[in-house]
């Protein structure tokens, strides 16, 4: 090693009740490098980062920072040493302004009083690096998920730390914002700051990372120099086998004569006159910039949010869902994009989470049947190969990816006729991603209508038989021919231009 080591991790083990999250792992980060961390869901990436970030101590092992042994007891200490941390899950103060969030814990002040002018100024400056289109005086609760993610990142970037940990920062960013982020990362690298970068998106790793370390089942596998390898090498190390091609084959059996779903002139709070139909056997993709209104279209369609006008046909029958229950009873369901806020009952067991949309199926009359509830959970844990210590455990103990699989299982259990998935693979590892894509394909083949919202262009193109693009609340175009399905075309439509 010619270059100086910034962080060295030796023989670190982390034991959680029921799980060994990390088993005697090592890792070394050079000064000024962008170091990727890869591994399946539950491999232990976040856990390791949390240990470095001082959220909890390792059960065993040592950390060295700039050659000195460290044991940060809390995030504060980690920050003082020079470690900045963007968490996988958003942790912002919704009631406060962007600026106050960026400088939380270290507001500029004159004497005892906050120096607000300076605060706004500094914050706007940081934001400008990301070309953010909102003011630092905005209340965070008024921002979209992705805008909030930007704030989260800006927060840590402004820490002027020596090591910056980014745990799946791009999972809720659009390509545009992601590119911005990468610029920032590169410039930080110029300032000789090291970055630990966690992502499940291979292209990103090859875009900005120098080296990549791979974890599997809580164990360290290997570290490789990115220029010398390709995606398959990483994947092989992660899953221990070849994955072959990354996307399932497109449909061969689209039946244009049967419309599973037909939507006409649907309008709502932030979208209007949306019309489209979904055919038997196809996967229909929805692309667009974050904030385009895709989720709102779907939630209105299912009766989760109010629609102002429009008609919906399911299997040719006109439906007016008074509430979400009506839709679900008709076999129409929507898998939310916001796992933590709208998906999970964090303090409840995995099995209770899975049964939550489908209590009828696990009860006789009004009485819940313990056995049925267990069986239902077990079935989908097996079918989706979810990594759990036991279905009685709180779902909060699962890794992000496995939580997402649980939600998918929850909806599959209602035997849906039409399933709408919003960012279904957000934060999910390549292996699991492929599983989910295959699953969606099988569902489609079995005649279930599948609609997929995704901000990840390769995914939309790879999985969908047909892509509808949304721009600021209206449909700006549709692409069905394979040869037309290119990133350029989609982006053009997404930003309101014609193809």
């Amino acid at each position: 090693m010619n270059r100086e080591m910034l962080l060295e991790i030796k023989k670190v083990t982390k034991q959680f009740p029921g799980t060994k999250a990390l088993d005697n792992v090592q890792l070394s980060v050079e000064r000024g490098e962008v170091h990727a961390l890869c591994g399946e869901n539950g491999a232990g990436k976040s856990t390791l980062m949390n240990i470095i970030g001082g959220l909890y101590p390792p059960t065993d092992g040592e950390l060295f920072f700039e050659g000195k042994k460290i044991a940060p007891k809390n995030p504060g200490e980690a920050q003082k040493i020079g470690i900045g941390f963007v968490h996988q899950e958003l942790s912002l103060c919704p009631h406060l302004t962007v600026a106050e969030n960026i400088y939380i814990g270290r507001l500029p002040h004159k004497g005892d009083m906050i120096d607000f002018p300076k605060l706004w100024e500094n914050a706007d400056e940081v934001l400008s690096r990301f070309g953010a289109n909102f003011s630092s005086k905005t209340k965070v609760s008024d921002l979209t998920v992705s805008e909030q993610q930007l704030v989260e990142i800006a927060k840590s970037v402004s820490l002027d730390c020596k090591l910056l940990i980014l745990d799946e920062p791009t999972s809720s960013l659009t390509d545009k914002e992601t590119r911005k982020l990468f610029e920032v990362v590169r410039s930080l690298k110029q300032e000789n700051i090291s970055i630990l970068f966690i992502s499940h998106r291979m292209p990103e790793i090859f875009a900005i990372c120098d080296r990549v370390s791979v974890f599997k089942d809580g164990r360290y596998v290997c570290t490789m120099n990115v220029p010398e390898i390709n995606a398959d090498d990483i994947i092989r190390a992660m899953v221990g086998r070849e994955l072959g091609n990354l996307y399932p084959p497109k449909s061969s059996c689209i039946d244009k004569t049967t419309e599973l779903l037909k939507v006409e002139n649907l309008s709502g709070k932030i979208f209007k006159d949306v019309s489209f139909e979904l055919y038997k056997g196809e996967i229909l993709g929805f692309a667009g910039l974050v904030g385009a209104g895709r989720s709102e279209i779907m939630t209105a369609l299912c009766g989760i949010d109010k629609k102002t006008s429009g008609t919906v046909w399911v299997n040719g029958k006109a439906q007016s869902f008074k509430n979400y229950r009506d839709a679900v009873d008709q076999g129409v369901c929507y898998l939310t994009e916001d796992r933590k806020k709208q998906g999970l009952y964090l303090d409840m067991s995995i099995k209770s989470n899975m049964a939550s949309a489908n209590l009828k199926a696990v009860s006789k009359g009004i009485w819940l049947q313990e056995k049925l509830e267990k069986r239902l959970a077990d079935e989908y844990v097996k079918r989706l190969s979810i990594k759990v210590a036991g279905i009685e455990y709180p779902i909060s103990s699962l890794s992000g990816g496995n939580q997402q699989k649980c939600l998918l299982g929850k909806w599959l259990s209602i035997k849906p006729k039409i399933i709408i998935v919003d960012e279904p693979t957000r934060g999910i590892d390549v292996g699991a991603k492929l599983e989910i894509h295959n699953l969606l394909r099988t569902l489609a083949d079995e005649g279930v209508g599948v609609i997929m919202i995704s901000s990840e262009l390769p995914e939309v193109m790879g999985v969908s038989d047909r892509v509808i693009v949304v721009h600021e609340g209206h449909l700006s175009g549709e692409i069905s021919e394979d040869d037309m399905m290119t990133e350029e075309n989609i982006m053009r439509l997404a930003s309101g231009e014609a193809v």
Binding site: N323, Y324, G343, L346, D347, S356, L359, S363, L368, A389
Partner: protein
Amino acid sequence: MSVKNGKTTGRNLVKKFFAQRETSVLIIILIAVAIVQIIQPKFLNVSNLKSIALSVSTDGLLSIGLCLALILGGIELSVGGVAAMTCVLTGYLCLAGVNVWAACLVSVLAGVAVGLFNGLMISKVGLPPFIVTLGMMNLSRGVAYILTKGSPLSLSGYLPDSFRFLATGEVLGIPMLFIIFVVIAVVAHIFLMKSNVCRNIFYVGSNEDAAKHSAINVDRVKIGVYVTVSVLATLSGILSLGRFNVATPELSVGAETTAISAAVIGGTSFTGGVGSISGTFLGIVLLKVVNSALVMLNVSVYWQDFVQGAILVLAVTMDYVTHKDKSNGGIICALLNKVRK
């Protein structure tokens, strides 16, 4: 490990048992009773047990209500007021010559109305439960004052024995009032634990957004709970009328705090999603045992508030401390583990 694999070895049963919040409350109760009994041998005699049973019953109904409200992630401060209102209303109607059972029916309807109001304000309008029910606390007690013009209405001679029997009668030496309470508690417990309708209360309490996204009709669940709570309060009010033979606007003043304490001592969480009727039952028993002990031990009246406060904090602290590490069975298991090493 074994727990995780869901196997239930003998060791595990012990663990499971001690891991129950109920258990630690039960232990606290037993200790308390033991101590008092040693100092005051008359404590455990039949008539005192009866009197404890009676005092547990009416407040117990309110505690069940608060347990539900807290699991939902809400709170209900108007239970005492509603009990007073319905007690007075029933009495008022009887004095006006209405048949007692008809009067009860009217009161129940009044209770339902209150519950609907709270529920709608909280779910549809979106006001904080604390404020809505605080307002309702004044509103309902206000009605009681208005109807009575302040002075309690005596019903001696107006209430048929059949009615009074519910509150003052005994079956095999067990007070009817207590029997009614226990039956309701057991039914409530079974429904809360085993019925799918009630499971929704936990879902909403645990994460309202997620519940909405699980096609659960959140508003209906909320309204349902608040109506149930009011009806329980009404029951408590009507039974108190039968018990005391008087309709007093001062009934159950401050009962909401007792009820909340009972629920929380029983392990019901303030953040919603967690709680049980069995725990709440033990909670109210503990509180009433302490109350009775204060009198039986001739604790100076000037010390009673103080001691009660101390007990509350103590009980909850013990409970929390022993359960800090959820994975093990609290303090007892901690010891067990020690022993094995």
